[in-house]
């Protein structure tokens, strides 16, 4: 076992994570079924023909134009819509050829293709100008469903799209910050349990861990803000999870200010240890307890910040878990370097005083 091999391991993990995060393609998905406003009636009495444009993202309809099949579904009712023509990989014209009496107004749209498999767009179609009879049944179409035949890819999520990659850059920041603040918390407890007041070893550990943890917290805020700009349309929104994160960073900024305002080393060690315990408990309340009581827009939230609700599939997990471990190793490494720098600095000062 080479000494410090965990550092090499961490760097290797992060290299793998950054590479896969930015090179694995996003899977295909349906964006919209758009009304082309060119309603043409063939016989005017029993059937209406309206044409719609089906728009996909990252789909492969150009390969095998004959094989694209489009359906609408509501509960048990399934109806096939004829494809007029496929324009390119991501655009196709669909005819809305339906009986006058339908069981529902709103429909999920499905598209099946030999490359993409079955894609799904929830509530993609709203059929007005039809007679709605909830008991009306539709004749089920006969077809054979194609299984997807895609390379390794990240899952398509509505509205999130390519920004799903941020999962590897944003979430591990907070996990690493939790780890570092946890190190600081333990160090502060041990500092207070110190018999000799002049011993400030644990205080140095707490300081270094909070400094590095703050860096990760700020990075977490920045990556989150960038993501929010693309997904929610604003750099910052009023949301319990976001406010909690910001306040946490402010609380720890208070810790650094407190340290800066006390000259005496022993007193500083004691006071900042006391404050750090408060800070960590507030961190727990803000990021673990309060989000469970309140509604939040944040992914994976909505009353229950459980891990499963991140909608991680195997392709994401294969990158996400290494990302968490890699960033944590890097954070630990940074913490140790910071700690050594503080200790050396202090030694230097003591030598200068002589």
């Amino acid at each position: 076992m080479i000494q410090g091999s965990w550092k090499i391991g961490g760097i290797a993990l992060l290299a793998y994570v950054v590479w896969t995060t930015f090179t694995v393609p996003l899977g295909p998905g349906l964006l919209e079924l758009r009304d082309r406003n060119e309603a043409a009636s063939t016989d005017g009495i029993t059937k209406r023909i309206e044409t719609y444009e089906l728009i996909g993202l990252g789909t492969h309809w150009g390969a095998g134009t004959e094989d694209l099949r489009v359906f609408i579904r509501k509960g048990q009712n399934l109806a096939q819509l004829p494809v007029i023509d496929v324009i390119d990989d991501t655009h196709a014209h669909i005819a809305l050829l339906l009986p006058d009496t339908l069981p529902s107004r709103s429909w999920d749209v499905l598209a099946n293709h030999p490359v993409d498999g079955t894609l799904f767009l929830q509530n993609g179609l709203f059929t007005d100008a039809y007679i709605i009879e909830p008991t009306a049944g539709l004749e089920p179409p006969v077809f054979d469903e194609h299984a997807p035949n895609l390379p390794h890819h990240f899952p398509f999520q509505p509205r999130i799209f390519e920004t799903i990659r941020n999962l590897m850059l944003h979430v591990p920041m907070w996990f690493t910050m939790f780890l570092l603040m946890g190190i600081g918390f333990v160090a502060s407890i041990r500092q207070l349990g110190q018999k000799e007041a002049s011993n400030t070893v644990f205080d140095q550990r707490a300081e270094a861990s909070v400094q590095v943890g703050m860096a990760f917290g700020v990075l977490g805020l920045l990556t989150g803000s960038l993501w929010a700009r693309y997904t929610w349309g604003a750099w910052w929104v009023d949301d319990p999870q976001l406010n909690g994160a910001l306040v946490t960073v402010l609380v720890y900024a208070g810790y650094l200010i407190l340290r800066a305002s006390v000259e005496d080393q022993r007193l500083r060690a004691r006071l900042s240890a006391v404050y750090n315990l408060f800070a960590f408990i507030i961190l727990m309340i803000l990021l673990m307890v309060l989000p469970r009581f309140t509604e939040s827009l944040h992914p994976g939230k909505g009353g229950n910040p459980g891990f499963n609700s991140y909608d991680l599939d195997s392709s994401l997990r294969a990158v996400f878990y290494p990302a968490v471990l890699g960033w944590m190793l890097l954070g630990t490494w940074m913490y140790r370097i910071r700690l050594q720098a503080t200790q050396l600095n202090q030694k230097l000062q003591r030598l200068n005083q002589r």
Binding site: V251, I257, L258, R270, L271, A273, V274, F278, I282, F293
Partner: protein, 224 residues
């Protein structure tokens, strides 16, 4: 145990006496609070919107509370202070201090709330809602008192004074503010008291938690 209670009672009465002895002490706080309410009244008139009413009430309450707690800790003569340091258990001192702040903030927030009802009107309250709102205000000022007693002691020991109390205290009280503002807006939107009372429970839990944490940690601040 009985001795502990008598110590706490004595220290509490002592803090109260010191506060009342200063002529400008509590009167200054109340003038600050009422003047803030009056300023709000000048802007909004008697018919403030629901949201403004709620926001202004909590903001004025928060600043009055900070003002009350953030006064420097030097209200004792040094010889009395050094006597206390040796004669009294730090935990008893803290409990007495918290009790004193609870009473002080209770008085200040009650006067603030009364001024709010007087000046900005009580259009948004029906029936018992005003009383329920008052319950929220009392619980909030209790939670603020428990946390700020500790933070104030900390910043005094660090020699930072008012600004350090604000820098350290404001972020830490955000959980309290989040809970109490959502409680207030729930009440004003007409949500039944029973459906929003869990906020009060949460505030009580926070107060208990802050007191327990202070009880454990205060001895480390106390010793020289």
């Amino acid at each position: 145990m009985a001795q502990g209670f008598s110590h706490i009672r004595f220290l509490f009465q002592h803090a109260l006496r010191v506060e009342l002895r200063k002529k400008h002490g509590i009167a200054g706080l109340l003038v600050f609070a009422v003047a803030s309410v009056y300023t709000c009244y000048q802007v909004t008139g008697t018919h403030a919107e629901q949201e403004s009413w709620n926001a202004l009430a909590w903001v004025v309450l928060l600043f009055s509370a900070f003002n009350a707690v953030s006064k420097p800790w030097d209200d004792d003569r040094p010889e009395i202070k050094s006597f206390l340091l040796h004669a009294v258990s730090p935990n008893h001192w803290l409990i007495a201090r918290i009790a004193f702040y609870v009473v002080l903030l209770g008085v200040v927030s009650t006067v603030t709330y009364a001024a709010f009802l007087l000046f900005l009107g009580m259009d948004h309250f029906t029936g018992w809602t005003a009383v329920h709102y008052y319950l929220g205000i009392v619980m909030t000022s209790t939670a603020l008192a428990t946390l700020l007693a500790m933070i104030q002691a900390l910043s005094t020991r660090a020699g930072g004074g008012f600004s350090l109390t604000a820098v350290l205290g404001l972020p830490l009280i955000i959980p309290v503010i989040l809970v109490s503002t959502s409680y207030g807006s729930d009440l004003m939107r007409g949500i039944a008291f029973g459906d929003t009372a869990h906020h009060l429970l949460f505030l009580a839990t926070l107060s208990a938690g802050f007191t327990a944490l202070g009880y454990i940690l205060f001895p480390y601040l106390w010793r020289e």
